[in-house]
């Protein structure tokens, strides 16, 4: 799709919506904008991925403002697992041009479904953290303030190796599609490694920007980062994410889910159908 002067403003507004929806729904704007640009607007999937991955860096780094105040991220967990996500992202970005577009769309649809499903399942505030006082070979244990318990809670992650393996997959998907793969990262950290949810969300967010940076070098070299597309998309998603983060505390979780889950499901179904070669 050629970009004309009128589409600059339209792309900005559409991306703002994607960033807002992503922030309210607890997923990255990238996961929304890639299907909108490809299935909705007919852009090449690699150009959409190139625009998205830059916006992912912006929102991940920008969200550090919130964690600056709250301090939940575990830097050691993030750094160790980043070895996996960065290596995976490099592989994903290198092979994405060889993967058929329909297969990329099927993977994207699957990630959308997983993310939507996880939003539905994450009703409990703080799933139990792993056992404390066990062997901590990688020195990953930490402490955070639990709002529910009103005290500091110690935690030590378990299953570091399985978590590392899932992170390689998260990295590959991020490199293939230009998305943050936050859902997979959180799945590994709070599902497998039993980190407290707040810690895994904050750490995942911190890792997403670094993972995305690993793909960007390769995307730039291959001409997937088109400034005409990337500039309005990145600005729109960033503004949408900032506004969304401000609105979020005023909305209860139930409201957010009612708005968000059906939208995500509809997008997922559209993307999966397109991946199967069915045009609706």
């Amino acid at each position: 799709m050629p970009i004309t002067a009128g589409t600059d403003a339209a792309l900005f507004v559409i991306s703002l919506g994607a960033g807002l929806l992503g922030a309210l729904g607890g997923v990255g704007g990238g996961l929304i904008i890639v299907p909108v640009l490809t299935v909705g607007m007919g852009f090449d999937i690699h150009l959409a991925a190139g625009a998205s991955i830059v916006s992912v860096i912006a929102t991940s780094s920008g969200a550090a403002v919130a964690y600056l105040r709250e301090g939940w991220a575990n830097i050691r967990v993030g750094m160790l697992l980043q070895v996996a996500t960065v290596a995976g992202a490099i592989v994903g970005a290198l092979v994405t041009s060889e993967v058929p577009t329909q297969l990329l769309l099927l993977i994207l649809g699957a990630v959308l479904l997983l993310s939507g499903g996880m939003q539905l399942l994450r009703l409990s505030e703080e799933p139990g953290a792993g056992p404390v006082g066990g062997r901590d070979r990688w020195r990953l244990s930490g402490r955070y303030f639990s709002i529910r318990l009103q005290r500091e809670v110690d935690y030590t992650p378990i299953a570091v190796v399985p978590g590392f393996v899932v992170m390689i997959v998260a990295g590959i998907i991020s490199g293939l599609l230009g998305i943050g793969s936050g859902a997979l990262k959180v799945l590994a950290m709070d599902g497998l490694m039993r980190l407290p949810m707040k810690v895994s969300s904050a750490t995942s967010n911190f890792m997403i920007g670094v993972t995305a940076a690993a793909s960007v070098g390769i995307y730039l070299a291959r001409g997937y980062v088109d400034a005409r597309l990337t500039v309005p998309v990145t600005l729109g998603i960033l503004v949408g994410a900032v506004v969304g983060a401000r609105l979020l505390p005023r909305l209860t979780n139930q409201h957010v889910r009612i708005i968000f889950i059906p939208v995500l499901l509809i997008i997922a179904i559209e993307v999966l159908l397109r991946g199967l070669g069915i045009n609706v």
Binding site: S60, I75, L94, V210, A214, A227, V231
Partner: protein, 123 residues
Amino acid sequence: MSGQPADERLERGLSLVLVVGVIISAALIAAGFAASFAVGWTGSLLGQATSAPPTTDFSALLPRLVALQPLAISQLGLLALVLTPFVRVAASLLAFAFERDWLYVAISTAVLVLLLLSLIALR
């Protein structure tokens, strides 16, 4: 260990690096975007003639920046944005070295080497 004061300071310092990086780069990207509505993406705010490379081409920025070409201003912002995670990992590495946490100095170095490879060597 995580959660203790040294780590908290580290975390706050690193977050600050990211926030400042994002604000500066977003300002540049937005300035270029706004200017593009006035003089077009490959025009010049100074009214000079500028080259119009493909918008996927981020090379030869300097002469286009000197002419205040909107495309070049936004491209500089995009590059600055992309570099913020590199700064963050490098800052973590220094902070771990300062704490004499050699295991995490090695792990941060591995991440940084992979990042630099992706930027420079891999195509």
